[in-house]
Symmetry: C2
Subunit: 264 residues, 2 copies
């Protein structure tokens, strides 16, 4: 089977013009050898925009509530500003990128998150289906696809959706037709034994070592959803998951850096 890399780029890199630019240069260089999908998060720009516009952001358990005004802001910032600037930069690096929200070509179908208990997350979307037919057609036409974390419900409603989840669901949907490697790239060198020390990267984690690390509370709480996502992706047919530093993308792909998540 042909190979595809689904690469998620985290918010802290997006906020840093220099790091983002270096990342996009390495990303563009990969296009000659493999099919590529980039999924980007939002960074702090949406929060800053909300402040400038005087829109108060509600958070519940650290998660943003997407009210109508916030949806407008994230649609503008994620699907507009960030997505188009990434695409323009990739184009300038000779990479023929095409940027999509989940509504474009019905790329990512979702539903408004169901209210559970007292928490209504508003216009937050939970993914129903990633359109593998659309994505593979674009990949076969040699486009690098850049996905913004905005989805739709096919009833005219846009929805704010977690980018890690979009990356995982995209990797899963494509694994029926491609050998898929899912890369979570962010500001750290990988999954660390000591969150403050970038030299303590765990080179590889499998289900039993993961249980052990969790028991010993050696995994930083913020990493747990990412790792759960990674194992879920592997269980659903994704070939490999790598977590590591965005600037080291080339080494991550080559298997010389970061943490590799394996299923055995």
């Amino acid at each position: 089977m042909k190979e595809v890399y689904v690469i998620k780029i985290g918010g802290n890199i997006i906020d840093d013009e220099e790091k983002l630019s270096a990342f996009l240069e390495s990303f563009a260089a990969l296009q000659t050898s493999t099919a590529l999908i980039l999924v980007h998060g939002g960074g702090k720009l949406a929060t800053k925009m909300a402040e400038t516009m005087g829109v108060t952001q509600q958070l519940v358990d650290g998660r943003r509530i997407t009210d109508a005004e916030t949806l407008k802001i994230v649609t503008m910032v994620y699907a507009g500003y960030i997505n188009k600037n990434i695409v323009a930069q990739l184009q300038s690096n000779g990479c023929n990128a095409i940027g999509l929200s989940g509504a474009d070509g019905n790329a990512v179908l979702a539903h408004k998150r169901i209210v559970s208990g007292n928490t209504d997350y508003g216009f937050a979307g939970d993914v129903d289906e990633v359109n593998a037919t659309l994505l593979s057609a674009l990949l076969e036409q040699k486009f690098a696809v850049v996905l913004a974390p905005i989805t739709h419900d096919k009833k005219g409603q846009l929805l704010n959706t977690n980018a890690d989840t979009i990356a995982q669901e995209t990797a899963r949907a494509l694994s029926a037709i491609y050998d898929v490697t899912l890369v979570y790239s962010f500001e750290k060198s990988g999954v660390l034994l000591n969150a403050g020390d970038d030299t303590t990267v765990i080179a590889s984690i499998n289900p039993s070592s993961y249980q052990q690390l969790k028991l010993e509370q050696k995994i930083f709480a913020g990493m747990i959803p990412k790792l759960d996502n990674a194992f879920a992706a592997l269980s659903s047919g994704v070939k490999k998951v790598v977590i590591g530093k965005a600037e080291a993308l080339k080494q991550l792909i080559a298997g010389n850096a970061g943490t590799t998540i394996i299923n055995e």
Copy 2:
């Protein structure tokens, strides 16, 4: 040759939720019979956003100067908010739309407008080339393409670009491979003899009647760039140009409403 309709939708319609929704419903209904490209302008939302954000808008001879902050706003509003809401609404009407800026797939290449005299329009783009290969590939795959008036220079710079011009250049580029009809749809019923009276539509204009109407100063000044664009389009191979009311899209297409611009 196959037919394509390139339809420009004006700003005043975009600002009116109800009219926009009715227009998109008629647009979606056309997709079963013909290939479609929608080019949208910006409306007043970008100006409102600039006010909310405290960004002062500079105008020279009624044209907005696109400074760096304004470029950020129009990228967010045009390529993000407006484009994605139009696509989501078309999807809800069963029309498989895909929204693009000029950077996506290198759809519309432009250059930063050259400073002439004392006026620097900032990050305003003049179109160099519309990518007919990309657009026809998407049309053949049964997508309706929705173009936002943001282009790029392939050097990483996004540019704010006039939507009428994008529509005209798109129609021109596609006319080598399709029979193209270019439709400028807006809030008026067509080119009017009396700007205040929607019943005074001129059914058809050719180059000699255009000269006569201009001599007699019967053409509203704001229509002149649109008509000049229309004749330029016809001269470069576009089959037909129609100007008329967005809500009457079906009748415009059928030739039962609006003003038809012809070259003889």
